[in-house]
């Protein structure tokens, strides 16, 4: 009897605190900013603005001697969807364009091109601006492709052109179109969940410590775990709304394929959201100052989710020490889960270990938070 009435009282206390916290969220315009404006803005940015795919690269095509063969090759660059070709006849002009960054690459067809082509040892020089190495490498590959295509076209037109003896037939699974949105848009969910879960909550406990209202709560019958629950639940709800927004945008706005099941996605996202909330509350309780908490929020939540999660930069290439640091943050497990569930499907050997790690992190954070939010004076 007393156990049930004790539970009823506990639930009543949690409900009162949740209601207070929810009012505080709804009344503060900044919560609206991060709960609604931010996800919508991120959807627009990731969906429309960010792309790693190269199209319409401005290149200078240097035609030092416009023989028919050379002009024909140069036209190949004008026809390619990857390039926006600017013709010039001197290397000097091309050089100036490159230094002004009017063009990102130079294709140089030398004056003796036609003669060497007849001899079978023609050379085309491709110069790229190395300022952005990733882009430069893609430009090199596409330029080579455009030249090979031209060579093949000439071959079929009757002039003999031999290609290499071994040809590679490559297929990219899960993303046949090789569209970078396919992995950038699922990455959105990680950003939104991190921002609502961890970023917003870093201030929540610190504010109460700073203003002394937490100490005031300590003298009431409210228990520590009840305070933590009340700080978690409203933000959890906000995070799930963010998830729904992102998922709908991915599926119906950007047509990212979704090959897994919605249950796995929801379950994994709930786990990640709880971990993120745990981190936010932990930072907040541990530092007890809003200024320090706000600086730490960037370092410990936003930047790792952007840079150390494998969402934009692949972690495979980083040194072991950096991988070890990335392992500490939950974002990389969630990114791996999302990329798999969206593009590959319910691949259990990938899903289960990652979800298990998130579950473990959640339990550790729960214990840590109980420990740092004891009823004692700061």
């Amino acid at each position: 009897m007393s156990a049930t009435s004790g539970l009823a009282a506990k639930l009543r206390r949690i409900r009162a605190l949740v209601r207070k916290e929810s009012w505080q969220i709804v009344r503060d315009p900044s919560s609206v900013a991060i709960g609604v404006i931010m996800p919508v803005m991120l959807i627009l940015l990731f969906g429309f603005a960010l792309s790693l795919d190269v199209t319409n690269v401005p290149v200078a095509v240097v035609l030092e001697n416009p023989t028919p063969a050379a002009t024909d090759l140069a036209a190949g660059f004008r026809l390619s969807p990857y390039f926006d070709a600017h013709y010039t006849t001197s290397m000097e002009a091309a050089r100036t364009m490159m230094l002004d960054r009017t063009v990102d690459g130079i294709v140089r067809i030398r004056p003796d091109f036609a003669r060497h082509l007849a001899l079978g040892d023609a050379q085309v020089q491709i110069i790229v601006h190395g300022g952005d190495a990733n882009r430069a490498r893609l430009i090199e590959a596409y330029a080579q492709g455009a030249i090979a295509q031209w060579a093949a076209r000439r071959g079929s037109a009757g002039e003999p052109v031999t290609t290499g003896p071994v040809v590679v037939q490559s297929r990219i699974w899960f993303n046949e179109a090789n569209d970078s949105h396919y992995f950038l848009v699922p990455g959105l969910i990680v950003m939104v969940m991190t921002l609502i879960g961890a970023f917003l909550t870093t201030m929540v406990m610190a504010r109460e410590w700073e203003r002394g209202t937490l100490e005031a709560l300590f003298v009431t019958p409210v228990r520590v775990d009840e305070i933590l629950w009340s700080k978690t639940l409203p933000y959890f709800a906000l995070g799930m709304i963010g998830l729904a927004l992102c998922f709908l945008a991915a599926k119906f706005l950007f047509y990212v394929p979704f090959r897994g099941s919605l249950w796995v996605l929801t379950g994994a996202s709930m786990l990640y959201l709880l971990v993120a909330l745990g981190i936010g509350l932990f930072i907040s309780s541990a530092v007890k100052s809003q200024l320090v908490a706000s600086q730490l929020a960037f370092v410990a939540t936003f930047l790792p989710a952007l840079m150390l999660s494998g969402f934009i930069f692949d972690l495979r290439s980083t040194p072991l020490a950096v991988q070890a640091i990335a392992d500490v943050f939950p974002a990389r497990y969630f990114v791996s889960l999302l990329q798999t569930v969206f593009l590959a499907g319910n691949i259990w050997p990938v899903v289960l270990p990652e979800a298990g790690i998130l579950l473990g992190m959640m339990l550790v954070l729960l214990a840590l938070n109980r420990f740092v939010t004891r009823k004692k004076l700061a």
């Binding site: 003896p165 992995f183 600086q295 730490l296």
Partner: protein, 375 residues
């Protein structure tokens, strides 16, 4: 004249108080000094599109001298690590699905026969496209290795190669190392995040504690408050930038072609613009939480639309115009050009004046808001 000296005295007092407030508290001192160094170290290694580890699996159905020779070239790169040899095609799906390998190379049973007959001998490459950028880079490496194999094979068999050879050169970054352009870009990004947030919190904290109203009734004028808040944030930003630059030079050893003076001139102007935006955000916010979140709502698109993670040229035109009000865009261009091209102050003017305009607009707007908003 004496009015000016009085004014300077008041500003100086405010600057001194602000710096003391940050540097005296141990926690806040660490939060200003340690994170920038940690970030440049970690992100310097993490922010790379270079691939130096490609786990791959092989399905060699030919098992001939030629196929072994081709595969040996992959193993010899040091980048390709053969994780497993498959026995039949049905194993390919599981290897890719479970992420055991990024690539599977399948050599069909007719490979050496076709090669000997001079017919095109095809090999199949299957790549995990969950990160399509990684897949594209790895496929590029495969193409390079196969090209080299082809050239050697033709030479060994007394044939000439394809009639057109391409020679590649990359200016300013011959080895095409991502780090060379990433680290200069990260300098601006880290400094912007830290200083903008710092500036955004500075006025909001006074608002939340009620001390801002007290400041307004003292002889200090709003413009003086603005300068008194902007200068410490800038000084801290310059300190952070210097620490990060030292790590870039002494640890990562990024080649530095230009002049340090030019870089600092650009960074200073950038910091004024970043602090201006931070203070403007601060002048709107009523509490520290609002200041942090509003600041972030601004910082996030600035970081994403700066050319740091994806090139500005890849963006639709409307977004490219939007980047024109982003000070980080200019800071990244300046840092890259000074670092890699050795650009002087003269050619950087198109990137300098927009930041000056951003700074002038935001700082005066913040000053106006100080006077007109009483929370």
């Amino acid at each position: 004249m004496s009015a000016l000296i009085d004014s300077l005295g008041r500003i100086l007092a405010l600057v001194q108080k602000e710096l003391l407030a940050v540097l005296k508290d141990r926690k806040s001192r660490y939060s200003v000094l340690v994170p920038p160094i940690l970030q440049i170290l970690i992100f310097g290694y993490a922010a790379t599109y270079d691939l130096n580890y490609v786990p791959y699996a092989v399905l060699d159905q030919d098992r001939s001298a030629a196929s072994r020779d081709l595969l040996a070239r992959f193993d010899g790169t040091g980048i390709f690590q053969r994780v497993t040899n498959l026995d039949n095609a049905s194993e390919i799906a599981k290897t890719i699905d479970d992420q055991k390998a990024l690539l599977v190379i399948q050599i069909g049973q007719d490979f050496s026969r076709e090669l000997a007959l001079g017919q095109p001998a095809a090999i199949q490459l299957i790549a995990d496209g969950r990160n399509s950028n990684t897949a594209a880079i790895a496929s590029g490496y495969v193409a390079t290795i196969v090209d080299a194999f082809n050239a050697d094979w033709l030479a060994d068999h007394g044939q000439t190669g394809p009639p057109i050879a391409t020679t590649m050169r990359a200016w300013f970054n011959p080895e095409l190392e991502t780090r060379w352009h990433m680290i200069p870009s990260i300098i601006g990004t880290i400094v912007m995040i830290m200083t903008m947030n710092f500036a955004a919190m500075s006025v909001a904290r006074e608002r939340e504690n009620g001390t801002f109203d007290q400041l307004l009734v003292t002889p200090i004028r709003p413009a003086e408050i603005m300068i008194g808040k902007a200068v410490p944030a800038m000084l801290i930003g310059l300190l952070q930038a210097t620490m990060i630059l030292l790590v870039a030079q002494l640890w990562f050893r990024i080649p530095f072609q230009g002049s340090v003076l030019t870089l600092y001139a650009g960074l200073t102007l950038f910091l004024i613009a970043a602090v201006g935006i931070g203070l403007f955000v601060s002048s709107i916010a009523g509490t520290m939480q609002q200041a942090m979140i509003y600041g972030f709502v601004v910082i996030m698109p600035f970081a994403l639309l700066s050319g740091l993670t994806t090139p500005i040229d890849n963006m639709p035109l409307a977004f490219q115009y939007l980047t024109l009000i982003n000070p980080l865009r200019y800071a990244i261009t300046i840092a890259q050009r000074v670092y890699l091209e050795g650009a002087g102050i003269g050619v950087l003017i198109p990137d300098l004046w927009p930041m000056a305009i951003i700074a002038a607009v935001t700082l005066s707007a913040a000053t106006w808001m100080f006077r007109h908003k009483v929370a």
